[in-house]
Amino acid sequence: MKVVIVGYGIGNLGAIPNMLQRLGVDAHISRDPATIRAADRLILPGVGAFDAAIRALHQYDLVPVLNERVQAGLPVLGLCLGMEIMASDSEEGTLPGLGWIPGRVVRLILPPGDALRIPHMGWNYITPLTDLPLLHELGERPRFYFAHSYHFAAASPDDVAATTTYGIPFASVIHHDNVTGIQFHPEKSHRFGLKLFENFLAP
């Protein structure tokens, strides 16, 4: 199984291959189109701002190869900002997103008077809404580590696979055909993240 983590930006992605290694998979961080084209699974990470991420993908000329693999039906998993850039666009920026899952990325707005803070940073629960294999066998109350200020407002409720509540309920997992995006960080969510990655790698 060839797993490629698309390395197009700043930040330390080391925790992702480290966790995959525990599952017996040698994942490579790469921005080489040929390496990406040969992958059996793609992971699209991301930290920072929406426009900066989209700009970097264009700068390294990765948008065509990513679109090609998505259209070919390859399982692609977006993490955090890597999920958000799958949308049509974002309130955070002016550039169009990859448009793989119809929807808009919007600022997390808490109800007035709420004591919670933005960014949403910390562990929180997810509630699966569909029978997505990615979320199988996570245990009774699956919880993950979040760090974000925006969330994915999917155009179709059918694309929302799980929600999380932080002041308001928001989509924490979105799924459309072979493309899945998760708002949280599985690589920082010990056994829950490990199981989620294992599900993603399942044949």
């Binding site: 080391g14 925790a15 480290n18 580590y145 760090a147 920082k188 010990h190």
Partner: protein, 279 residues
Amino acid sequence: MIPVLLLDEDGMVKTVRYTDPTYVGDPVNVINLFNRFEVDEIALLNIRATVDGTAMPFALMEELASECWVPLSYGGGISNLEQVRQILGLGIEKVVLGTAAADQPELIRTVAETFGSQAVVVSVDAMQTRAGGYDVVVESATRYLGVDPVVYALRMAAMGAGEILLNAVHRDGTMAGYDLALIDVVSHAVDIPVIACGGAGDRRDLATPLLAGASAVGAGSLFVFQGRARSVLVNFPERGALEAMLEPALRHRAEAQAQVNTARSDSTTRPTPLSPRPG
């Protein structure tokens, strides 16, 4: 429940009252052990960087962030925004400000405004005085500030700290139990989460800071030593046992919170900021 791990050059150590470091192990190995124990967060404090002015070990910190399967905080030797930017870029989730918070509290606000208050933890190191009161200390407890920890913690919260890491220095490494009186007064004074640290000697101690008002509990010796002989053995309670141990304290806190919510006529049911941090 947060293991607080001390970094001394390239080794992990544990101190007593911030002195006498005992070697505990190779940092990468220690982090790997805690990965398996499914702790929810790890704090890494560099005990030498501020005092000796040694450079922060960025390469090691990056390696540890890669090895770590849970959010990681780092403290020790941070004195400006550029360093914070660099540390967060290594894949570390939060920074802990100690001496810098005392000497240039405006740095807290700058970091909070740039990266969010959730990314900045302020360490409040309290030392019990001969008269029975407390004083805040910095630089690995070598400099006394002459300020009460409650007053100090309020000031730090007002500057934009996301959390307070409250250390009872006189209990550090003694395994004599938490200083619950200190935890009580500080936790009830500030409206941000307090992580109580210093003195855990028995797993039964772990619930006590929660009952005293702390939002989370940190421990060092308890998770790296075994027995009175302090033989090094990295350990952590199994999750089920931990939950059973903490359940009465968490229930007590939930009930207290429910009363507060009922008292507030305009409040609606919602998770408290503490709920995303089970355990």
